[in-house]
Symmetry: C2
Subunit: 107 residues, 2 copies
DNA sequence: TTAATTCATAGCCCTCTAGTTATGAGTTGT
DNA sequence: ACAACTCATAACTAGAGGGCTATGAATTAA
């Protein structure tokens, strides 16, 4: 849980990798060759990034002849959204506590 | 913009640093000493993390005698939320395009 | 004034990772 | 069968960054 959250943050921290994921969100189902063309790094580098993304659950792959097509798994972003909500919750709850205190002081 | 998004992701990627930010979201306004006590790393390490968080706009500091109090700036998470929305948007838009195509095929 | 406290900075080390080239495994076309 | 292609893996390098200790600057207490 915390582990997967960690992996997610670390995986998305690299700009090249994040760009690949963004591209897959936009354009759907792409081969390694197509992704390499627009990535600005070598094909092995792209493959490595895709491996990391896959282990984080952010992409899926399936073979199609001699090429591999990758697609984004948007649901894998859920822990990220949960985390921001949690932080907002902490924040809000502290605000509520303050309000409670002020109310009690009114009495 | 893209730059600040990058900085935000990289800043939140480190677990120790993220834990410090989480703590500040929960507990509000804390000194470096208090943060160090629960951080599991040395005080200089904590100070360095706080510096990184500050440059990312995620925390604010103000002097209070010889100690420095830090507090979370929850609004700084906005680019993160925007990004996830953007990814979801791409995803949804592709889904809509597919729907459009299917509708046109119906005619 | 002197001593103690609180934090930031400097300097160093060590690990982790993103990049590269080289190559191999699997697939398609001739 | 052989050549061309698509991608993954191996091996290596360089740089970034997170950790530490040591120390200095500023404030408070004795």
């Amino acid at each position: 849980m915390q582990q997967s959250r960690d992996i997610l943050f670390r995986t998305l921290a690299d700009p090249t990798r994040r760009a690949i994921f963004e591209r897959l969100c936009r354009d759907g189902d792409l081969t390694v060759g197509v992704l390499t063309a627009g990535a600005g790094v070598s094909q092995p580098a792209v493959s490595k990034h895709l491996g990391v993304l896959k282990r984080a659950g952010l992409v899926r792959d399936h073979q199609e002849g001699r090429q591999t097509r990758y697609s984004a798994q948007i649901e894998a972003l859920a822990p990220l959204i949960d985390w921001t909500k949690e932080m907002n919750g902490f924040w809000q709850s502290r605000f509520d506590d303050l309000e409670d205190l002020l109310n009690r002081m009114d009495q």
